[in-house]
Symmetry: C2
Subunit: 147 residues, 2 copies
Amino acid sequence: MSGAMLKDALVTLKESGVRITPQRHAILEFLISSETHPTADEIYKALESDFPNMSVATVYNNLRVFRNSGLVKELTYGDASSRFDFVTHDHYHIICDECGSIVDFHHPGLEEVERLASYVTGFKVNSHRLEVYGVCPTCEKQAVKAN
Amino acid sequence: MSGAMLKDALVTLKESGVRITPQRHAILEFLISSETHPTADEIYKALESDFPNMSVATVYNNLRVFRNSGLVKELTYGDASSRFDFVTHDHYHIICDECGSIVDFHHPGLEEVERLASYVTGFKVNSHRLEVYGVCPTCEKQAVKAN
DNA sequence: TAAACTAATTATAATGATTATAAAGAAGTA
DNA sequence: TACTTCTTTATAATCATTATAATTAGTTTA
């Protein structure tokens, strides 16, 4: 079923006039199979063995292409590098304050919040971003052990 | 009343053992009076005339100090520089996709979302981040005019 | 009030993520 | 197959932010 997602993504790209190169194929495939919201550099390193000559710029360029096609979402957290997430169905992220791990969770969209924001500010609303922060079970366990 | 906010902030700092320097005083004052969620560089430039010898590092250092004391919140948006927001009472931000302007709005906290996220993922929740994106009235007017 | 202790500031260099550039290579098409 | 155009590569540049080390200045206490 992740095979179908890849195929769909390739069709989407082709339809918007984007050429399918081996590098693009590999980056997409890696993103889809990945559970970990990788950084550009992690993608680069993961594909190094298959593409020894690939440039980091290629990874960045293509992530931008994918983002512009709506296939990939960029997650930014100030300090560190951006992370990239293949868009499947809508979900939110919860992020561990200790180890930085990112876990998906589903929740109905926050249309009510969007409506209120629009009403109060006069903006025409396009989208929103929500993240929850906390401590993941693994880190919590270690904290308990340490006491 | 913004004078009271500054006074409170200075007390908070003093109580946590942070020295009050003229630079810190000025940065805080500027942040409180500012409506625009400035970047570190904007703060630096704004205070240049009063503190011709101040270093950019001082601005960054002190913004970190203020953040650690809970006085200031850092807003990160990937591409550009971080923006800094003096914490008054809880509010969310709505951001214009066209011109980047940031406007505050108030909404009851999303405790329900936090609860669900915690339940689904097993995380101990600390906080959340919510932003709404759209087009501000000014940009909307210009878009209409352009058609 | 002045000495002493320690933290803060300054100037500068370093870091690290991301982007720009220009030449070489490869997709897609007639 | 040859052509056109987009993509990749390698490298240098940019820009925000942080580290460093020397100097300066708050704060405390006698």
